[in-house]
């Protein structure tokens, strides 16, 4: 199976689990386990190539313009991690099928499989951008898996995400710097680049950034608190992510980059010091825990510290040790996590203080945990012994003066004693020392639950006895990292310093075990007055407070606060820019005949109308002036030779005025002098912005020859599309994607209106405003009996209108259809036709004596969804030819038929939908009850 196929199969898994989990529930785990084993088996041919010293490579172009490729590469290092991810994944899925409560668990299976995809993608990626993307996928999937664990999980997931995103940012910077420095996005080429030898400071910077990224994922000090915190997640998640995968992603990153950085002193020092310190610190914390799962988490942090330190040493022997310990740890730790789940499942608790002496009822579990902890403590003849010894031995090779190696060796040895101690604590406290009565229900777990854990833990025994099996892959991995042969792996190396230390550790450890009753109470108190989680939370609170203070400056709901700054900036930009360009000279002359006499007349009209809008205090008057501006602008549009635009503007103008009138019914008659409205500032700003905008328009337009696109559209557009109306063919063919975006905006505006008015009640009119609301109810109206009668009963008043409707509506419908049809060749098209239909709707609405809605909510949504859907479907049709929205057309019996016409139908429906929503939502519900007429009105005849 090729690498791309592996990724495709893994990408299919999250899709498959949706139907699978609804059919099989938790048993989906069995299917996924089989699937992952099958995928691992399918990788055997590739594995052969790798073991023969080759590397499997595959590249696919992704974004050619950015030189991005899906570059995949499988070498020895990648192979080991792929196998860990697939096989441990299979074991954990099998375990989850038995461990989880009978339920669907879609989220669990979904994000676990997404995680596996990200993890395998990460270790096979040979493109730096892809490495980063996969890295982030693992972060996000891990966040979601922890967050699924209910209320306790959410805060923990947030903290985990925060820490891993620090690492993600660090990696992003490192990746960008690497690409810039080496000029390639290929990981393998970038790592082999000579740049790293020539530029010390750059190399150190990138090495430190990569180390930080690795530390965050591999839970190294000071980024370690997330891992114990993440224990809120369910046990299968911890067994996979927190033993074998997420944390190993950090290890993988450091291993992968050690090719370039293993001789950088800062890299060596940072990894060795942080790794060894983390290892000892976490071992101490592990001894301190009473929750078995948190103990495991700290022990993971500790073990990863050892691996990190070995990577820091960077010699072939150390890298061999890191590699083999990664394998050993993945096996025994995932198994131990699953065993914690087994204990929790059978005994009902995982608190060491409350567990009875379980060895009496759970002998198999006892033996398995014993083997797992023995491997972790480094007792022969298990794989953990080989790897632990190799790591101890490699510490002596630490770069620098001889004493650094000896110090690292001594420190690691001391850490090993602590490791031994907490391993003993797990075993003895869970299975031997418990004083409580064993509850009646407690019994050995079912074989199906035990099997996956036993399999991974006991695998350490045959693998240790026949460690040569691993020698091949590990050798290829070490070659990939250092270009040198690996250190020989064996159970017996002869009497060496590391063997003596191991012996001493076992002796001291055994003595400690005999003293455990005395030591235990001293260890389980609080070691430190603060915790990492507490520190993170306090830091977050501080950041939130700063954020709140910052928000206070700009966080206001009234728009003027938000529009004034950008308008000021715009004024400066346009004003200063215009003056600068003009003063710079070299401005081309204007094209002759830029203006017609009608422009001047319209300028006068527009100026007067704008003044009217601005100064009038009556809302009604301002609306009339606004309509005046609109009509004048419409004439200007026609005068500029834009009939389509003019027609559209005319329709929109009519509708806008009607909408404003609908809204004005519910508002005070006058704008009034609202508080906060200051006049001088806005006036100065407005005049300045107006001058700047006018100046810029004068300077920047009308000074060039026809543009190339204009020439193209005018000369070729009609022939290309079969339509004479160039504006329409641009809308529905050349720039159909723009139009599609616009339709979506229309649809969403309509849905937003529905949502706003559904959630926030419309204003309720207060008593003192009643009078102000009904201008015609005043004494003026009462003087005229006809007006009073008209107010009291609207129906007769509307007779002429309804008579007119019978003629107008069919006429408008026919007109709308005609305008729609001819749009391709003459002024018209979907927009204008829909707006004409909308005018028909407005007539129907206006002719009603009451405020009944014209359409139903279902019709509104059908129009909007139908419009956007039709346009989208038309776009997809384009794939039949070549690309999204590619127009297809033909002539049927001499009549033009094309997909662009269908697209225009989408335009039509969406526009009509928006307009109907506006009518029915803004106008349909009576703003106030109008039947309780005032007594004065009734007294009139």
């Amino acid at each position: 199976m090729t690498l791309v196929w592996l990724l495709a199969c893994l990408a299919a898994a999250p899709v498959l689990v949706v139907p699978l989990s609804s059919a099989l529930g938790r048993r989906t785990g069995w299917v996924l386990a089989a699937y992952f084993v099958a995928l691992a088996a399918a990788m055997i041919p590739n594995a052969r190539t790798v073991l023969d010293g080759g590397a499997v490579e595959q590249t696919y172009s992704w974004v050619p313009a950015l030189d991005l490729v899906y570059a995949l590469r499988l070498d020895g290092l990648g192979l080991i991690f792929v196998m860990i991810a697939l096989l441990i994944g299979a074991a954990v899925f099998a375990y989850s099928a038995e461990y989880l409560a009978p339920d669907r668990h879609l989220g669990f299976f979904l994000w676990m499989t997404v995680f596996a995809l990200g993890m395998v993608g990460l270790v096979m990626a040979d493109d730096l951008i892809l490495v980063f993307l996969c890295w982030e996928i693992t972060s996000l999937a891990s966040f979601l898996l922890i967050a699924r664990a209910g209320s306790g999980g959410e805060a923990a997931a947030g903290r985990t995400l925060l820490i891993t995103f620090i690492g993600g940012l660090s990696l992003l910077v490192a990746v960008v710097v690497m690409i810039a420095a080496t000029g390639t996005t290929r990981l393998s080429e970038a790592l082999a680049s000579p740049v790293w030898h020539d530029h010390g400071a750059l190399t150190t910077t990138v090495a430190v950034l990569v180390a930080i990224a690795g530390f965050t994922k591999a839970a190294q000090f000071p980024f370690h608190p997330w891992l114990p915190d993440a224990m809120a997640a369910s046990t299968p998640v911890s067994a996979y992510l927190h033993a074998a995968a997420v944390v190993k992603a950090g290890i993988y990153l450091m291993l992968r980059f050690s090719e370039a950085f293993s001789s950088v002193p800062a890299w060596n020092a940072l990894l060795i010091v942080v790794g060894l310190f983390t290892s000892a610190m976490a071992a101490l914390f592990a001894l301190n825990q009473t929750d078995l799962k948190r103990l495991m988490a700290y022990s993971t942090v500790s073990q990863l510290g050892l691996i990190t330190a070995a990577i820091g040493v960077g010699t072939p022997k150390a890298l061999t040790a890191a590699m083999i310990h990664t394998i050993a740890h993945a096996l025994f730790k995932s198994g131990l996590f699953m065993m914690v789940g087994v204990i929790d499942h059978q005994a009902g608790t995982r608190d060491l203080r409350r567990l009875p002496a379980l060895r009496h009822v759970m002998p198999w579990s006892f033996a398995t945990v014993a083997a797992g902890t023995a491997a972790m403590a480094g007792i022969p003849p298990l794989l953990g012994f080989i790897s632990k010894e190799a790591i101890l031995g490699s510490m002596l090779e630490a770069p620098g003066p001889a004493w650094t190696g000896q110090a690292a060796f001594a420190f690691a040895g001391a850490g090993a004693v602590l490791t031994f101690a907490y391993c003993a604590k797990i075993l003895f406290h869970a299975f031997v020392d418990g004083e409580r009565e064993i509850e009646a229900g407690a019994c050995e777990a079912s074989p199906a639950l035990l099997a996956p854990a036993m399999l991974t833990i006991w695998a350490g025994l045959p693998l240790a006895l026949a460690v040569g099996v691993l020698a091949g892959p590990v050798d290829q991995a070490v070659r990939a990292m250092s270009g040198k042969e690996s250190y020989e792996l064996a159970l017996w190396h002869g009497v060496k310093p590391e063997l003596i230390v191991t012996g001493l550790v076992i002796l001291v450890g055994a003595w400690l075990v005999t003293q455990r009753a005395r030591l235990r109470p001293r260890l389980e108190g609080d070691l430190l007055p603060f915790s990492g989680v507490g520190l993170i939370d306090r830091g977050l609170h501080r950041v939130e407070r700063i954020g709140a203070a910052g928000t206070h400056v700009v966080g206001h709901d009234h728009p003027s606060r938000h529009v004034v700054p950008p308008m000021t900036v715009l004024t400066l930009l346009l004003g200063v820019g215009t003056i600068a360009i003009f003063a710079g000279g070299d401005v081309p002359g204007t094209v002759p005949d830029l203006w017609r006499p009608i422009d001047a007349g319209l300028l006068v009209l527009i100026t007067l109308a704008v003044l009217g809008v601005v100064v009038s205090d009556s809302r009604l008057a301002a609306t009339v002036f606004l309509g005046g501006v609109g009509i004048a602008v419409t004439v200007q549009l026609f005068a500029l030779g834009a009939p389509d635009v003019g027609l559209t503007q005319l329709m929109v103008e009519v509708l806008t005025v009607i909408f404003i009138m609908l809204v004005l019914r519910g508002l005070p008659k006058r704008f009034g002098h609202l508080k906060h409205s200051r006049r001088r500032g806005p006036m100065v700003l407005a005049v300045a912005l107006g001058l700047a905008a006018g100046g810029a328009t004068w300077l920047l337009t009308g000074r060039r020859d026809p543009s190339a696109p204009a020439e193209y559209f005018i000369t070729e557009g009609a022939e290309e599309t079969g339509g004479d109306n160039l504006v329409n063919v641009i809308l529905v063919e050349f720039r159909a994607l723009d139009t599609l975006g616009e339709l979506t905006v229309l649809g969403f505006a309509a849905i937003a209106i529905i949502a706003i008015l559904a959630t926030v009640p419309k204003r309720s009119v207060s008593e003192e405003e009643q009078h102000d609301l009904r201008p015609l109810d005043g004494t003026d109206a009462l003087d005229d009996p006809q007006a009073a009668a008209a107010l009291r009963d609207a129906a007769p008043n509307l007779e002429p209108m309804r008579l007119l409707l019978r003629l107008m509506v069919p006429g408008l419908v026919v007109l709308s259809a005609m305008i729609f049809w001819r749009g391709h060749n003459a002024p018209g098209g979907g927009f204008i036709a829909a707006l004409i239909a909308a005018v028909a709707v407005s007539l129907i609405y206006l002719a009603r004596p009451d405020d009944r809605a014209v359409g139903t909510p279902r019709l509104h949504l059908a129009l909007i969804a139908g419009g956007v859907g039709t346009a989208l479907a038309t776009g997809l049709l384009g794939y039949a030819a070549s690309a999204f929205l590619e127009p297809l057309s033909t002539y049927v019996v001499g009549i033009y038929v094309g997909t662009s016409l269908l697209f225009d139908v989408g335009v039509y429906l969406a526009v009509l939908g928006l307009v109907m929503v506006a009518f029915d939502r803004l106008g349909a519900e009576p703003v106030e009850e109008r039947t309780d007429d005032e007594p004065a009105l009734r007294s009139q005849p």
Partner: protein, 109 residues
């Protein structure tokens, strides 16, 4: 000599002034004026000297640039959507005064 920039200046000034007001309806009016101005600027970018309608008339000279027109047509309809949305906003709460925020169940400052 040309008048379009002056028209733009007048519309922008009026729109900017209204945008700074407190009442939502006035703000809507401001948006309307500003969008008229923006549309005229767009059309002016197609050079207002050529005003023949772009309808593929054979032998026509001085044909206007259809591309800005397509942009403007789109812009007009979007303005309609924005206007209606903002009008809906002015209907909620006790008034269209944007300094007084209606009760929405969320915290406001």
């Amino acid at each position: 000599m040309t008048f379009l920039p002056l028209t733009v200046a007048v519309l922008v000034a009026g729109g900017a002034y209204l945008l700074c007001q407190a009442g939502m309806v006035r703000i809507v009016f401001g948006i309307t004026l500003l969008s008229h101005a923006a549309n005229l600027v767009l059309l002016a970018s197609g050079v207002s000297a050529w005003r023949t309608e772009p309808l593929n008339t054979p032998g026509a000279t001085g044909v206007a640039d259809p591309l800005p027109m397509a942009f403007v047509l789109t812009a007009i309809v979007i303005t309609l959507a924005v206007t209606v949305l903002m009008l809906a906003l002015s209907l909620i709460g006790g008034d269209d005064n944007t300094y007084l925020v209606p009760e929405t169940g969320q915290e406001h400052r």
